[in-house]
Amino acid sequence: MMSWLLVMPIAIPFATAVVAYLMRMSDAGRWISLAGSALSLLASAALMVAVLERGVVAAQMSSWDAPFGITLVVDYLGAVMVVITAITGLATAIYALGEIPARLEKLGYHALFQTLIAGVTGAFMTGDVFNLYVWFEVMLISSFGLLVLGGSREQLDAGIKYVALNLVSTLVFLSGIGLLYGVTGTLNMADLRDAVANAENQGLITVIAMMFMVGFGVKAAVFPLFFWLPASYHTPSFAVSAVFAGLLTKVGVYALMRMFTLVFVGDIGFTHEILIWVSALTMLTGVLGAAAQTDFRKILSFHIISQIGYMTLGLALYTPLALMGGVFYLVHHIIVKANLFLVAGVANKLAGHTDLNRIGGLYKSSPLLAALFVIPAFSLAGFPPLSGFWAKYLIVKAAIELDNWLIAFVALFVGLLTIFSMTKIWGMAFWKPHPDGIDPTPDRVPDKVRIPMMIPIGGLAAMTILIGFYPEPFVQFAEVAAAQLLDPTDYVETVLGARP
């Protein structure tokens, strides 16, 4: 029973991918993808219920006992990531009904999309480092396909950079796994915790930890490893860049959070101190990079980097409050960031471009879109009472409690600069008149395209408001998730069985 619950959120997207690929030549593919995404959401909700009841849920694949077989294990953090992946998947599947043209569907868009979701979900659920590598690869290869699907010059150029840097990071991660196995003789994460703590050569363990940090750091797009992200995220379809923006970098952050709370905790003074400064520089460079851009999606891409800094900061400070803020930030950010890219897609359809110098007038002509932009944009910047305010509040409070005033100041200052970028988009895309004298009213786009694109934007904005006005259950959830991360006894025992 338990193993079915754990397998379903991975198996459903894979099955959907196969069927959607077979049906790619007809219109049915997009509806199959939509149905698959809805089923995934149900399956992950069921998993969430089980996790809320039991704390940690684990299953041994093919009945090979841990630590020899592959374990799927989900704690509070894993469960919320699986659910949020399914929500983002459903939102973009609806959006794709309007945005993705039949040309891309025939090339297998929906199959690649569902495989990507399966890869992301798998990475959140696995309890085995090598299996984590495999899920990373599933995720990578489908993201490669989605990024260059359509094959414009910009996409090919972006694809080269994205593929090259991500493959290097994967190889660093893979070598790290090899060395870790060489030192400890196990690959099971729960088993690794003790094995790493008892390893004789702690210096070598720190080296391996740094290899993991670099490997995951590239995926998470932290300073100074983020260059692939602003080079590529503005080129594919909007639905694709929304999923990338929402989920892909967050898999890197999740992997950092998992490995650096569960396994590599022997030398916190060294590893987590590095992370603190990396986080601060990530926040700063991201937000300053965004200030120099005038393209809707490029601004948002740089803001992904800057926001990643807050999440890794939550991990780096390594107190219950900080980790709680990190988890809360992770969830809030996925919703908000995916939504902003979806808004950019509608703005592009209505006003004809993503370059802010070449569009305008959206506020007057499409007030609904303007309202739906303001919610995630100000949530990103941390305006109360939206979800981003609580996320930033927790992180900054954690920094102040540690008397780390410099970091707290950087976090607040970056929030201020985020407002600058968001008001820049607001002023140029929404407020000023359209430079070509066009009136970008909603009826410039047929209902069949516009309505499926607006539904997920509204839904995600509603979630942002809900979390903002009613943060209590979400904060409590994040508190338990952080407690589980800091004291993974429950996690280890559920995977390996209670030990004497």
């Binding site: 090899g178 590529s232 503005h234």
Partner: protein, 120 residues
Amino acid sequence: METLTALIIGVLVAASVYLMLARNFMRFLFGLILLSNAANLTIFASGRMTPGAPALVPYGEDTPLGVVGNALPQALVLTAIVIGFGLLAFTLALAFEAYRRLRTMDSDKMRYAEPKEERE
């Protein structure tokens, strides 16, 4: 045996870094292939070397007799080779398509997705 493998890995990584620093994307790709082989050898070597002792179970027995090679790293390497092969095949196809469309392999000249650098 371990020393020799370590040296080979070192040479592979050095050669791959040299290749990857080139502006030509094909050279970068060859560097990536070497790096991927170096990573695979690392995993293989970290399972400890036992020359001349294949992980085979004699006929009629349930477990191998005596000391045999560690089979797990071999399984890991096999997985990594297959995945690496797929990714590199994709990258090669991408490089070819990029060359066909962009008419260059020089990564400094691939500036379609990013603003061109100001050069005098």
